[in-house]
């Protein structure tokens, strides 16, 4: 399984794109193909982003190390889908109507935050190579890449604000995001506590072990 996992990620992440390609070829994108393309690409961008954010929690909860190696590929796929989602909006939906798009980005909060999420993904994608990690140094790279949490929140807001009030999907995505971020917070708190424990006076440690 070890060596094959990236291929599973490739297959799973390319499948929606292949499906869209097939549907386009078969003229089966529904009554409103542009809206369908935009929504489907956006859905998958968010899903894959959540998948990339699930890798660290998998390690925290189950102690597995292999998920971490899939994180970069998932992140790059999330970026790819987000870029395609944006591309469809520019080319097919708005058809290069730059003034209308500029007005929308400024005036429509859901487009503003969606745009912000995409822009923030660019530096992450650009610094995803081993070489860039070395050049930036692990600490700086980690700090830069913690932007992905903000991106997750922006994506959730984007979905909330564009959907009609009666829809439930945005709540489910936000719930998954909240669980994934909470796992990290919990781990972070646990470590801090452990560190404080480690630094605590010997007496109390002896006492606590004695009481066992």
């Amino acid at each position: 399984m070890r060596g094959q996992t990236p291929w599973v990620v490739w297959a799973v992440c390319l499948a929606p794109l292949a499906m869209l390609g097939y549907q386009a070829w078969a003229n089966d994108l529904g009554a409103n193909p542009i809206s369908y393309l935009t929504n489907t690409l956006g859905d998958w961008a968010f899903r894959i982003l959540l998948a990339s954010l699930a890798m660290t929690p998998l390690r925290i909860v189950f102690g597995w190390s292999w998920p971490i190696r899939l994180r970069r590929l998932l992140g790059l796929f999330a970026f790819t889908y987000a870029a395609l989602h944006f591309g469809v909006w520019i080319v097919l939906d708005q058809f290069f109507d730059w003034p209308a798009m500029a007005a929308d980005i400024a005036k429509r909060p859901y487009i503003t935050v969606g745009m912000a999420a995409l822009v923030l993904l660019i530096p992450l994608a650009a610094t995803s190579t081993k070489g860039m990690i070395k050049r930036l140094g692990g600490r700086a790279w980690n700090r830069l890449h913690s932007l992905v949490y903000a991106i997750g929140v922006l994506a959730a807001l984007h979905f909330f604000w564009l959907a009609k009030k009666a829809r439930t999907e945005p709540y489910w995505y936000a719930l998954v995001l909240a669980v994934l971020l909470a796992t990290r917070l919990w781990e972070w708190g646990r470590r801090r506590l452990a560190r404080r424990h480690a630094a605590a006076p010997v007496v109390s440690r002896a006492a606590s072990s004695g009481s066992r």
């Binding site: 529904g30 009554a31 409103n32 007005a103 929308d104 564009l162 009666a166 829809r167 709540y171």
Partner: protein, 319 residues
């Protein structure tokens, strides 16, 4: 993974293109037939959705634009009683039973009454009217509806002098409308029943159509069978579907989407390119089947006929 669902329609149920192209002859023939005394009885016999329905084209108010293809008009629409996805209504339509069906007309009327769908079908001569339909979500269609002016029905009930508004109610029945079922996880959806309303003069306007069919057929379930209204100068959600009650009232009714999000959906909801939805622009729309967006027209292009209803009103305030 994308799950493909089998369409509820068999391809054999879709109007044959050859027939469709010859629809004018067909309608002319139908009109002649409708004059025969047999007409009423025939209307009673053609119960199921999709059965042919005869009507005379009203060319005066009909759009000259080509109608949206039948497939799109019957598989892509909002009808939250079935579900919030646009494919839900056509996918789940079979659970609705449009027969038997009765409509209660009451409130501030001299003659409250309960009318059976067969009586409603024959109350006035059926007309075919090609209207454009503009959804508040900025897409639009052109649909050949069949019906007669709502005013014909309202006049029968004789609204009293106090009646100022008309309130419409859609059927509530979670068995027939899966979107109305309540479960632990179904915190979304709307408050049922779906309620819509019009000012009495809007309801009496000759463009306001009591609708029982489309594309030469009895109204399909997913499009609001067995009867709905169509108000072409307002956003689509004002054209309430599957009506069971029409009540004449003196106060402006509290309507569903206005209750849901008052800052986004007003009581009037006239199509207006100059008043944006708070979250998106209403200046343009995508006609289903077109690639490029087109400009949205004030009152959806029916301004000549309806703008006078709103003389002196600030349409930015009464959106």
């Amino acid at each position: 993974m994308l799950i493909k669902r089998a369409p509820r329609f068999k391809s054999s149920e879709i109007t044959d293109q050859k027939l469709y192209v010859r629809r004018r002859e067909f309608i002319a023939g139908a009109a002649a037939l409708a004059l025969a005394p047999l007409g009423a009885e025939q209307a009673e016999a053609k119960t199921p959705a999709g059965a042919p329905l005869k009507a005379t084209r009203n060319a005066v108010v009909s759009s000259t634009e080509p109608p949206t293809d039948f497939q799109s008009a019957t598989t892509y629409n909002n009808f939250y009683e079935f579900g919030t996805d646009k494919e839900d209504p056509s996918r789940l339509a079979a659970s609705l039973r449009p027969r038997p069906w009765a409509v209660q007309i009451d409130g501030l009327v001299a003659k409250p009454q309960k009318l059976d769908i067969d009586q409603l079908l024959t109350l006035a001569p059926l007309e075919e009217r090609v209207y454009s339909l503009r959804c508040v979500e900025a897409w639009s269609m052109v649909i050949p509806w069949i019906g007669y002016p709502l005013s014909a029905l309202l006049k029968r009930a004789e609204p009293t002098g106090q009646a100022k508004f008309v309130e419409f109610t859609t059927l509530v029945d979670p068995e027939q409308f899966p979107g109305q079922r309540k479960g632990i996880l179904s915190f979304g959806g709307l408050d049922w029943p779906y309620i819509e309303g019009l000012r009495l003069d809007e309801a009496m306007h000759p463009l306001t159509l009591l609708t029982v069919g489309m594309y030469g057929q009895v109204l399909p379930n997913q499009n609001g069978a067995p009867l709905r209204i169509v108000v072409p100068w307002k956003y689509g959600f004002k054209s309430i579907k599957s009506i069971v009650r029409i009540r004449l009232v003196s106060e402006q009714p509290k309507v569903t989407w206005e209750k849901q999000a008052p800052q986004e959906y007003g009581f009037y909801s006239n199509v207006n390119p100059n008043v944006d939805h708070p979250r998106w622009s209403q200046a343009t729309e995508r006609r289903i089947g077109d690639f490029r967006r087109r400009k949205t027209l004030p009152f959806n292009g029916y301004g000549d006929l309806v703008a006078s209803l709103y003389t002196g009103m600030d349409l930015k305030k009464f959106y």
